[in-house]
Symmetry: C2
Subunit: 402 residues, 2 copies
């Protein structure tokens, strides 16, 4: 049998990074690579009780459910969104298999092959891969610490006539960046003027370190929910646990209903029991205190990693301390190719994600993303030491080559 | 904001049937429409215990897992497949969000817009919708009680150069049909000769009524797993419970690995905890006895519905008693349009699915699918009486019009 795959699979070909990261599974490599939450943050006992209570609902807990998701959980999410200035009803919402599926469903119902999406530079690697898989052109817009550069945005809109902009304005992946209010409003204004849909991806918004007022979502700044030019997506992965694979999208009813129909075609619905159990948990749980604990824990981990890195006195290595989220974005000296550094690092017993796959177009190959949420203090210390050793060996080997 | 959806959403436009069936939700309409398992067949207490035990694994139960699925559950499925003459390893397998997702993922990695898939006539309506959504041409092949007509198959292969054939050879949806061994081998031979991939969808194979040897899957009749021209998919929805949304696909490693990569792009992975809980259940559960009970229960329900229908002495209404599965496929007198009959039936308090959406091309509008697994004896009796009343009124209104 000679298999003849679809054209889209070309975009799925294995990456060098993925192959290296596979080597790290199940052995002694310490991983700063993934975006995994700290396991001691999971409410295990409460979640077990929530599952037990879910079965009190009887057979419904194991039966087919609605494609758009378990109604009481949608009601809970709607009420939480309202606290964050997003006034949505259950008909403006779809529950998905993680927010990744929300991003994909919107792509499927809104974009055709060859359509253009504007993205940050760099941006979330799985979104870049998804756009490639769907034959969508991702065009990067320049940016700085405040968010997208509004002048470059205007240029790219004029040049590429995009249908969508994909942004992570709060504690971005991979950069940890927070957009200023001015940039949020600027993106919104330009997109409204040009009928460009904004996909606002907000998995990390709750993980804010400074104890200040939360940043306003772009969705909340637009007229909404009907006629909004923003579809907003978030997830329980970072504030409860990722293994339940439950995210949501909110937006105009017409857009959401189209996503529901697409979801019916691709998998009918996400897990009934997980949605019920999540609702059971949230109905009997002090989520605010729980999130407060996660924030404190992640802030401490970030500070610890930052301290360890400063202590290394690495030559020409730069990073900004993030104000929230799960990642440190590092710029290495220009002569360092972080994919080669990864290979050297894995030999030393530590892994990270090189910056290249986060770029939709030309990549800065001297960048890397470090996750600080998964490892404990001792393992983080060990990981940074190993990274240091790898850097030293990399520099030595470069010196020898020259 | 003027929304500009993708071209593919045209195929998602609301169907008249879906609108009518929506009316049946939450009120007194008895539904013979869905494909819902009997709720008294769910192992609720055992499943609750399985979830409790899953949490003994600690945080891993709630963490991200592998895209291809929880390894011990894949091992369990591989071992079960071996009992059914399908010798596969864990690398030949992907766990999915129901088998619907397996069908979609294979479409995405194997078919481009405009490619042709051969299907039974009629065939599973959600597959027809999915093919439409993906711009894939579904071409029906004639068939009879033994399966696809092999001469028409040869003609259609020559005429349309299909890349794939989608079949449900055992207790098909909607017809309940079982393919003969000769037809299975005939399809396999012609597909092998022409490099056509067979997608064998087998959600109902375990629900066999006659106590005989199970029918051989087409996958098991081909060389396998490597170089097989068959990808086989099945699900826990019908033998454990659908709310866990866990299905699987098996096939050649290269095909499966491509599906894994596509799954990584669309939703990263299905629920970790549901897969662990299923494994916990199956490891401590007499699945054979459980399936035996489901078979006996569904057979009794099917016989009861058959008996009730015979007692109505409907004029010109025909059906075959299925040998397994969940559906009775009914042919009405030619003058009856089953979509109009559905509207009349809902007024009487009973719903079914009209035959039309099960046809990829020209539909026989005097057909309908009745599900016999969801309702209990009394409700089934009531439902058939109401259907009878609807038929009578329909005939009267037709007589008046003439």
């Amino acid at each position: 049998m000679e298999y003849k795959f679809s054209k889209s699979v070309e975009a799925l070909s294995s990456s060098a990074v993925r192959e290296i990261l596979k080597l790290t599974q199940g052995n002694q490599v310490l991983s700063l690579a993934g975006g995994l939450p700290a396991e001691d943050s999971f409410p295990i006992a409460e979640m077990r009780e929530a599952f037990v209570r879910s079965f009190d609902l009887g057979a419904k807990a194991l039966q087919y459910g609605l494609t758009d998701g378990y109604l009481p959980l949608r009601e809970w999410v709607a009420s939480r969104m309202k606290q964050k200035h997003m006034n949505v009803g259950v008909d403006n919402m779809l529950l998905t298999t993680g927010s990744q599926q929300a991003v994909d469903l919107l792509c499927q119902v809104y974009l055709d092959e060859g359509d253009v999406v504007l993205v940050e530079n760099p941006t979330y690697l799985a979104a870049v891969q998804l756009f490639q898989f769907r034959g969508i052109r991702a065009i990067p817009v320049d940016g700085d610490e405040e968010g997208m550069d509004l002048e470059d945005l205007a240029r790219k809109i004029a040049q590429y006539r995009p249908k969508m902009a994909y942004v992570i304005p709060t504690f971005a992946n991979p950069t940890g960046k927070v957009w200023s209010l001015e940039r949020r409003l600027g993106l919104l204004r330009q997109c409204k003027e040009n009928d460009i849909l904004i996909l606002e991806d907000d998995p990390y918004g709750e993980i804010q370190f400074d104890g200040q007022e939360p940043y306003r979502s772009i969705f909340s700044l637009d007229e909404h929910p009907e006629d909004s030019c923003v579809v907003y997506t978030s997830t329980f992965s970072k504030i409860v646990a990722p293994g339940l694979r439950t995210g949501w999208a909110i937006g105009d009813k017409r857009v959401i209903q189209m996503m529901v129909k697409a979801k019916q075609a691709v998998d009918l619905q996400s897990s009934t029991i997980d949605q019920i159990a999540l609702h059971q948990l949230l109905d009997n749980f002090d989520l605010e205190s729980h999130i407060e604990k996660i924030r404190a824990s992640y802030k401490a981990r970030m500070e610890w990693m930052n301290e360890l890195m400063l202590a290394q006195n690495w030559n020409g290595v730069k990073w900004e301390k993030p104000r929230g989220g799960m990642f440190l974005w590092v710029t290495l000296p220009e002569h360092i190719d972080s994919e080669k550094l990864l290979a050297a690092s894995v030999k030393e017993g530590v892994a990270f994600v090189p910056g290249k796959p986060f770029y939709a177009a030309e990549a800065q190959s001297n960048t890397m993303r470090l996750n600080y949420t998964l490892l404990d203090r001792d393992d983080t210390q060990m990981a940074i030491s190993r990274l240091s050793a790898a850097l030293e060996k990399y520099n030595q080997s470069q010196a020898v080559q020259q």
